[in-house]
Subunit: 161 residues, 2 copies
């Protein structure tokens, strides 16, 4: 049974990312990290690529799900996040969801939209059959993710090129 | 330029996982975590699935690379590890490598094969164009990964279903 049940507040909706979100998505993700000089063509190619990667046992479902919270009045992207589902051998050919690139539009802070997108993506991972969903965060955000039903599991290590 | 240059010691070789590795792979991964009652058929389906997921801009390259270190004398799997490459929007449509499920056969401990498989998979990530490779580990293994040119980047959070 699901730990969470995503409740979308009045005035907002959640849907998968679309081509028309391009300008909004660049602005919202720029609040998170470097977006770079990505073109509309590259963006479209990425969305098509994401929709080409299916799950092994559920070929009608996608391994990547990037979803956006939309302000229904302004049609603005208020928040964004991605889950992609990794196929493993361990856990009897189990699936692990990886949540990545969570960002909330600075005009929409303080409305719990960060928790909403995490709850929503976590539910998607559970529905797709993941035995767990993981994400990496700054130390200062551990408390926030604990409120989203996550607990500390290990250390993220990186090497950059 | 690559930070590391994988040097394979005499008596060992590295190659991609194969169907014939099934029994060995189960034993080595069981030293890491629960493998479960996976069948040869499921294992074959996973290997075929991994080989169906290509990179967006390099369709001759695979998003998943599970490689094994082989003892050339006994043809045993001495170590195993996976890198899969995530396609992002950020960093101008950048790629991030995720290293997962590193395990060394208990008969081959103390031969630096853990570092060898990490160096090898990290190099594969760099060659495929990743701007970084990340992995999650126990606190007690941070020092080991630091010797592999990794540094601490954040906290891994998880939710289980």
């Amino acid at each position: 049974m699901s730990k969470t049940r995503t409740i979308i507040p009045n005035g907002f909706s959640i849907r998968k990312i679309e081509l028309s979100d391009f300008e909004d998505v660049k602005i919202v993700l720029a609040g998170l990290t470097t977006v770079g000089p990505i073109t509309l063509c590259t963006y479209e190619t990425i969305l098509n690529y994401w929709n080409s990667v299916k799950l092994m046992n559920k070929p009608s479902e996608y391994a990547y799900n990037t979803s956006v919270i939309i302000d229904d009045h302004t049609h603005t992207v208020a928040a964004i996040g991605t889950i992609f589902v990794e196929q493993k051998i361990i856990h009897d050919g189990g699936l692990v969801g990886h949540i990545e690139d969570i960002a909330v539009n600075s005009d929409y802070r303080g409305q719990k939209l960060g928790k909403l997108i995490i709850d929503y993506l976590s539910e998607q991972g559970e529905k797709l059959g993941c035995y767990k969903v993981i994400l990496d965060c700054d130390v200062k955000n551990v408390g926030f993710y604990e409120k989203c039903n996550y607990n500390q599991a290990g250390i993220e290590m990186q090497t950059r090129f």
